[in-house]
């Protein structure tokens, strides 16, 4: 991204703050890119002839007579098939030692899809993990985050889901990724022989935080190229959106905006929605599916970031360590996939909805029994049976190391019901019980 000839160079900066600088300039477009003292910046405010620039890399060391060159265009990404298999930074420059990618230059953060041109998501994404496929089935065109505490193995689970999901392209958008996690992803993808399907845009903890703001738009511009131009199934991994939102709050703070809940900018909902709503099933067959990570602080989902996210995404997945079986499971109570209704019982076997709900209800009964036990009360025979059921349900279905197909999951469900309960206790529609109840 070198400046083109004949551009006017400004050398008089009037104001410098931690993240922005202002200068007198004319003919400048809103959201246009510029280079300030060799650092990339973007126009965020224009008042008459005073232009305010947000400097992505921070303003440390920028002198008041620094060179400012305007690019006359918003941030862009060059898109072509050559993106596949490559690693880029937040500006779309290669960080894998390879050459710059040649291709059509497209502005990032482009317009939204007309809602009437969307297709209803209807293609199931099988992951083999029963906690997802059985209870929280994912569908192409969906957007769903993992709500996880920082110590939970969400990056591992996400990498596993990505590789099993049979997507044509997997685009990793790493925001504030530690170098270790970045190398982990690189390794896993390499070992799976999947590198040619992967594209990564990475801002690590070593890079300035404000640069992160470009990462999702870069990744999604690449995703739109493959989904729209090439009709491919694209899976986008966003990790970690909490760090993205933190960067938003830094910028809004430095621009003297009045913060709303939890020091986040008042526009947080719209800012996040603009990213997540890029998930879409296109009429031509291509699709963009987004799986994200929102790290929580102490499991608090009422914080503005997970809260706003929950209202935007189509469900959320929670991981939890089940001490009874000593494994990480997908929490059946708090996890939810809103789009599962579009496929369960129709794209999957007819008994799927009822088996799913009944198992979760019985698991809830087990949780009540457990509370009773902890409070020192006697358990009824039914309570005891729910506890036995819950343990096996965790072990054979909820644990993230389970890898079976959906029919096998449903059969397992029926077996567990029959082993621990009678037909009246499960309360499933009679015709399904008649058909699927395993006779001993």
């Amino acid at each position: 991204m070198s400046p083109v000839a004949f551009q006017k160079i400004y050398t008089h900066i009037t104001n410098i703050t931690k993240a922005t600088c202002s200068l007198k300039a004319s003919g400048i477009g809103n959201e246009e890119l510029a280079v300030v003292h060799g650092r990339l910046a973007q126009v965020v405010k224009i008042m008459d002839d005073e232009v305010t620039l947000q400097v992505f890399g921070g303003t440390e060391g920028i002198p008041s007579n620094a060179e400012v060159i305007f690019y006359n265009r918003p941030p862009t990404l060059k898109v072509s098939d050559d993106l596949a298999g490559r690693f880029f930074n937040a500006y779309g420059h290669p960080i894998d030692g390879g050459p710059e990618v040649e291709g059509e230059e497209r502005p990032i953060g482009g317009p939204s899809v007309n809602p009437v041109r969307r297709r209803q998501p209807s293609e199931l994404i099988a992951t083999g993990i029963a906690g997802i496929d059985l209870n929280n089935t994912l569908v192409t065109g969906q957007k769903i985050p993992f709500f996880a505490d920082p110590d939970q193995p969400f990056n591992q689970v996400m990498a596993m889901v990505a590789l099993r999901a049979e997507a044509d392209k997997i685009i990793l958008a790493g925001m504030g990724l530690t170098n270790d996690d970045y190398l982990y992803y690189k390794n896993v993808f390499e070992n799976a022989g999947a590198l040619d399907r992967i594209i990564s845009f990475v801002n690590t903890t070593e890079d300035p935080p404000v640069e992160r703001l470009l990462v999702p738009d870069m990744a999604l511009t690449a995703a739109e190229y493959f989904a729209v131009d090439k009709n491919e199934k694209v899976l986008v991994l966003l990790t970690d959106m909490t760090l993205y939102a933190d960067a938003l709050s830094i910028v809004s703070n430095r621009m003297d905006q009045i913060p709303s809940k939890d020091s986040m900018p008042g526009s947080l909902y719209s800012d996040l929605a603009k990213i997540y709503e890029k998930a879409v099933q296109f009429p031509s067959g291509g699709s963009i599916t987004i799986i994200a990570v929102t790290t929580l602080s102490g499991g608090d989902i009422t914080h503005a970031i997970p809260d706003n996210t929950g209202y935007i995404t189509e469900g959320q997945l929670f991981l939890r360590r089940d001490t009874d079986i000593g494994k990480v499971i997908v929490d059946p109570f708090r996890s939810l996939s809103r789009l599962k209704q579009l496929v369960i019982g129709t794209k999957t076997r007819e008994d799927h909805p009822q088996v799913m709900n009944t198992a979760v209800r019985l698991y809830a009964d087990a949780a009540n029994a457990k509370t009773k036990l902890e409070n020192g009360f006697d358990l009824t025979d039914y309570d005891q049976r729910t506890l036995d059921f819950a343990k096996e349900y965790s072990e054979y279905l909820l644990a993230i190391d389970v890898n079976i197909d959906i029919n096998k999951m449903l059969d397992t469900g029926w077996q567990l019901f029959a082993r621990h309960f009678n037909k009246a206790e499960v309360g499933i529609k009679q015709e399904l019980v008649d058909k699927y109840w395993p006779e001993k």
Binding site: G29, E31, K274, G310
Partner: protein, 592 residues
């Protein structure tokens, strides 16, 4: 209201902060006036929201990327208006009433503004008024059939005072812009009237005679609403709930099943895929009342969360104005807005950019006034010709962090008369719809006129039964708390009975499977039948030797009743399950 400025005010852009654009104007400008800002040949629509000297602060309904200082601006001389005429039903509009189907391409293009109505479409017009008739605004001049609905062509709402019909066209085929009548005012001035009229969306249409208190049940087919906390026709209600508690599923159920002539759905700042669900389902699903497809009675205003924020605010007003237009035709309208919190957030974003002093949670100070003003536009009305029409309005609220003590929920609670609290706990245990039976209320149940209407339309003792059921639920909850504190074996057996009897009501009346082809919609006759059934069970004395027998026994009862809910009403299968149920009840019934 009719502005006829010949020369339009123009201006030039002098400042840009995100979608707040400051324009230096060369003439008079009105608050909330619409203007178009030209960016490299593309006109972007904007609304004036503040004026200081010759500087007009405008909110642009589009992305302002690439906009430059000095860009030319033209002020239109009118406020944001809805286009009202035949052809609105079955359409999908953005928040500013541009037809989304008419737009080309997969992606929305800034400045691509499509017209709301098709000017070439031919309508079969039938006159209702005669030459010499004295008419007022909103009086019916004629009608066309729009899908299966009689769409009245009215005296435009902006007409003030009395007019005389000077001429009216004969029955026949006309386009919306054809003159269908000429009206003469008291000064003898003639006004041609077409089938289209315009109305500023932020102003209520008050062309009706009287607005009484709502007095009759508005059926939704959702048991926990109709039976326990009924909505009244022309009433207002709201559904607050944390994410994942089933707000949208509930709203969709209402839009499908409610007994309305016209349903307007304002998808305001919510997920696009949820709107797509309506596009896909409504052309397929049938309106149980008319047998026509649901889409024929529905209009969708889709301003999803990734569409321009400022247009989100406009979208709820556009939807309300369309509802008021159809109400004036003597129709029963259901207006749904999902979610009003997103609308409030749009107000907050703008207030923030204008550097106004913030109120609670950084929302603008006048938020409560804006919300109550909006809700007050709903209602049951008597029109000038003594016909009736109604707008029943139900909005969802998405409280931050699920905390109901936040400004949008609190402001809404002050105006909406029915409150359907969605509970996280119920949602977690998959008890859908997750409307909390104890926290929720419907003030309409206390209106004597509503009670009277329930008595005559359902049964004499209906209201008493509903009150009884509410009591049973409260007692059940108390019993369950005691059991949890003291333990199963330390409480009297009656506690277990009280709890399990409330569980029967919970499972059979409150819980409803929105995805089952029978259970999803329960007509009031069937609701009465099942309510009587569970009250009978409640009033039956049962014998148990120990508390351990209570749970399995009631589980069996619930199972039979549930099978009944899943069966066609009064079918063979239904009766078979009902007989089974009687047998189970007999096993433990105290013989007198």
């Amino acid at each position: 209201m009719i502005m006829n400025n010949t020369k339009k005010t123009t201006g030039k852009v002098s400042g840009i902060i995100a979608n707040l654009v400051i324009v230096r104007a060369d003439g008079p400008v009105a608050q909330n006036e619409i203007c178009y800002i030209n960016r490299d040949g593309i006109d972007l629509m904007a609304e004036v929201i503040k004026i200081i000297g010759n500087q007009a602060y405008t909110q642009v309904f589009e992305s302002t990327r690439g906009l430059r200082i000095g860009s030319p601006v033209v002020f239109e001389g009118h406020l944001l208006e809805a286009t009202l005429g035949p052809g609105i039903l079955s359409s999908v509009y953005d928040g500013l009433m541009h037809d989304l189907h008419e737009m080309t391409g997969v992606f929305l293009k800034p400045g691509e503004y499509t017209r709301a109505l098709d000017p070439e479409k031919i309508w079969d017009f039938k006159p209702l008024a005669k030459v010499g008739d004295q008419v007022l605004a909103a009086d019916w001049l004629g009608e066309v059939m729009e899908n299966s609905i009689p769409h009245r062509i009215m005296v435009p709402f902006v007409f003030e005072g009395k007019y005389t019909v000077k001429s009216i066209v004969a029955a026949g085929s006309y386009k919306i812009n054809d003159t269908i009548a000429i009206l003469t005012d008291s000064n003898g001035k003639d006004f041609p009237v077409t089938m289209v009229q315009y109305w500023p969306v932020k102003k209520a249409i008050k062309a009706y005679k009287d607005k009484p208190r709502p007095f009759k049940l508005f059926q939704t087919g959702v048991r926990t609403m109709d039976t326990l906390n009924p909505m009244a026709e022309g009433g207002t209600g709201f559904i607050p709930g944390p994410f994942g508690s089933g707000k949208t599923v509930l709203q969709h159920a209402l839009s499908r099943q409610a007994e309305a002539d016209v349903v307007i759905v304002a998808a305001c700042g919510e997920r696009a895929n949820e709107v797509v669900e309506l596009f896909v389902e409504f052309p397929e699903l049938e309106d149980p009342k008319t047998g026509r497809k649901l889409i024929e009675r529905t209009t969708i205003i889709a301003n999803t969360s990734n569409m321009p924020v400022a247009a989100r605010e406009a979208s709820v007003y556009t939807a309300m104005t369309i509802a008021e237009y159809y109400r004036s035709m003597g129709l029963k309208i259901l207006l749904l807005a999902d979610s009003t919190s997103r609308w409030a957030q749009a107000l907050r974003e703008m207030s923030n950019r204008m550097e106004e002093l913030p109120g609670p949670d950084a929302f603008p100070m006048d938020l409560p006034a804006i919300i109550s003003n909006f809700y007050s536009r709903a209602g049951y009305v008597y029109l000038n010709n003594n016909q009736t029409g109604s707008i029943t309005f139900i909005g969802t609220v998405s409280p931050a962090g699920g905390n109901l003590k936040e400004p949008v929920t609190e402001s809404t609670k002050k105006v909406a008369r029915a409150f359907y609290a969605l509970s996280q706990q119920r949602a977690d245990s998959k008890r859908y719809p997750a409307i909390d039976p104890i926290d929720s209320y419907s003030k309409y149940l206390e209106y004597p006129e509503v009670q009277e209407s329930l008595r005559t339309s359902i049964s004499d003792d209906w209201v008493d039964k509903v009150m009884l059921v509410k009591n049973i639920m409260i007692r059940g909850r108390e019993a369950s708390e005691q059991i949890n504190i003291l333990g199963d074996d330390s409480v009297p057996l009656d506690y277990h009975l009280a709890f399990w009897k409330s569980e029967v009501i919970d499972a059979i009346i409150l819980q409803q499977d929105a995805f089952d082809k029978i259970d999803f919609n329960t007509p009031i006759v069937r609701q009465k039948y099942m309510l009587d059934k569970v009250i009978d069970i409640y009033e039956t004395d049962f014998e148990f030797d120990s508390f351990e027998e209570v749970n399995p026994f009631f589980k069996r009862i619930i199972n039979q009743l549930k099978q009944m809910n899943y069966s066609e009403f009064q079918s063979e299968q239904f009766k078979r399950f009902e007989n089974e149920l009687y047998k189970i009840i007999e096993e433990r019934k105290v013989k007198k």
